[in-house]
């Protein structure tokens, strides 16, 4: 076990939380938890708090979309391994099976002193604990020339949904022998292997419908996640198709122009026939409106995922500063269970166990060629610390790579059931 024994941890948290929980408990009211964001962090948190409290906590989930399209596996849609419908999920089961009140609206602002969430419709939702899991917003200005308007011709497709369909259409319709350019994001960003899995999947599609196409990656980073595995896979499956250009070589991305489809760098101007521009990122805007951010992201207490700025607000997933964990759906799901356990303990006095975090990121390079990287973590005093980690090795057998891909399908089915069933 980590630094606390289980029972010591229970005692510490119960003692600290008891006073906070008293107002709700003292008047006999059912405590209220409001969750903002219905992705891997928010849907999991809402489901676990409702499921495990068995009616002792009133849970409301605020999510604008009625149908949620996962970011994870959206690359497999780009590669033709999944259809779009298969990555879409609804919220009916959370209502019907666990009694979660699902409100399809935008969260507009937070009044932390009154403990009220205000919605775009004007409605107010009072809370005892607020869970913010809003994912990311895009810093368009991090790429000169890029904008919300430019994303129609140069989709980022980094929040799944219709942007991914736009990108798929542009890949499928690119002229024969044309050039596809990706501008990769700067650190930190959602899904570290994601841009490179995306390139793999687009290359897979090109290998079938446009075999003389080229892909150029203009990267602001000097290195990237699972770099050796991806580059070996590209050489094996798509020889000569993909060129990764590091910042020392391109000298910096000076401008993108969605009208002319030109990307200007310090050394050259690249003319794209289709492009994907993934800009820098920050916590979703409701986290900023709540004032729980420090700069672009939201610091948390590693043991509970409670905000360092407001003990009644929890921040999960991509919006949080959860280093050493990467910003991933798996991480958010893991963090949500830690927060759910802590929140139930605070509000109902249920047993609180030691926090446990884990993550695995699977990536598909080509048909039946899956790779993965993962770790387990514990709550340190200042941050979430790695305990033990692993990564796929170069030169693994075809059977191992196929098994890794099949494992990722099992994970997708598992995590989406853990979020939405």
């Amino acid at each position: 076990m980590s630094q606390f024994s289980r029972r010591q941890f229970t005692g510490l948290l119960a003692g600290a939380a008891g006073a906070l929980a008293m107002p709700s408990l003292a008047f006999g009211a059912v405590p209220r938890v409001v969750v903002v964001g219905g992705g891997a962090g928010g849907a999991t948190a809402a489901r676990y708090i409702a499921k495990d409290s068995k009616g002792a906590i009133n849970v409301t989930l605020v999510e604008a979309s009625k149908q949620y399209y996962t970011c994870f596996f959206s690359n497999l849609y780009l590669g033709g391994f999944r259809d779009y419908g298969s990555i879409g999920h609804g919220y009916d089961n959370l209502s019907n099976n666990h009694g979660v009140n699902v409100v399809h609206d935008w969260a507009a602002s937070v009044d932390g002193s009154r403990k009220v969430l205000k919605l775009a419709s004007g409605a107010e939702l009072p809370y005892d604990r607020l869970v913010l899991s809003p994912g990311i917003d895009l810093n368009y200005e991090s790429v000169p020339g890029y904008s919300a308007e430019a994303q129609t011709r140069m989709p980022h497709a980094w929040k799944s949904g219709t942007q991914v369909k736009v990108l798929r259409d542009q890949v499928m319709n690119m002229k024969q022998g044309g050039t596809f350019v990706m501008v990769a994001p700067p650190n930190p960003y959602r899904c570290p292997p994601g841009p490179y899995e995306r390139v793999s999947m687009i290359a897979h599609t090109f290998s079938q419908v446009n075999p003389t196409a080229k892909i150029i990656i203009l990267d602001p980073k000097e290195k990237f996640s699972k770099q050796g595995l991806f580059m070996a896979g590209w050489e094996k499956h798509y020889p000569g198709m993909i060129e990764w250009i590091d910042p020392a070589t391109h000298g910096g991305i000076l401008n993108v122009n969605a009208e002319t489809m030109e990307i200007e760098t310090d050394i050259d101007t690249f003319k794209a026939d289709a492009a994907c521009v993934i800009p820098g990122q920050r916590a979703g805007s409701i986290a900023m409106a709540a004032g729980v951010n420090d700069g672009s992201w939201c610091p948390i207490m590693p043991a509970t995922m409670a905000s360092k700025a407001d003990p009644n607000i929890y921040v999960l997933g991509d919006a949080s500063v959860a280093a050493s964990m990467p910003k991933s759906g798996f991480s958010a799901n893991s963090q949500a269970k830690v927060a759910a356990n802590a929140i139930r303990g605070e509000l109902t006095g249920s047993r609180v166990y030691e926090p446990r975090f884990a993550n695995t990121c699977w990536s598909l390079i080509a048909t039946n060629d899956g790779v993965k990287v993962g770790a387990n973590y514990k709550a340190g005093a200042e941050k979430i610390d790695v305990v033990d980690k692993f990564v796929s090795q170069g030169g693994e057998s075809d059977a191992v790579r196929k098994e890794t891909y099949e494992e990722s399908i099992g994970w997708y089915n598992g995590i989406t059931a853990d979020m939405f069933s």
Partner: protein, 116 residues
């Protein structure tokens, strides 16, 4: 706690899953390991498992782990912890589980209905 039902689970595992191919004979579950089980703790710990293995026992790409004989479950987890079974995700999960935690998970998952 009561000992979970004895079932021919290793046979079932070998048939239905890839993970239970030839458990090394050196791995023996401590006879008393299940005495350390804490059902509620197992339910909490199961959150880590059900990110991938479905709680309803559905098997879509990964082995079902519900409704297994608790001793067999514990034996398999010990084998992953000892790196006697391959799969780096499972070795990573098992590497930080102590005997009490493995027993608690085993008893909790044994209580859930098996794959239909």
């Amino acid at each position: 706690m009561t000992r979970a039902k004895k079932a021919p689970t290793l046979g079932v595992l070998a048939m239905g899953m890839t993970l239970a191919t030839a458990l090394p004979s050196v791995v023996q579950a401590d006879d008393d390991i299940l005495a350390k089980a804490d059902f509620g703790y197992g339910e909490y710990l199961s959150g880590e498992c059900v990110t991938c293995h479905q709680q309803n026992g559905s098997n879509q790409g990964l082995p079902s782990i519900t409704g297994l004989d608790a001793e067999s479950f514990a034996q398999i987890m010990l084998a992953y912890r000892n790196k006697e079974l391959d799969n780096n995700v499972m070795q990573n999960v098992a590497s930080r589980l102590d005997d009490e935690q493995i027993a608690s998970l085993a008893v909790y998952f044994a209580s859930l209905p098996p794959e239909e």
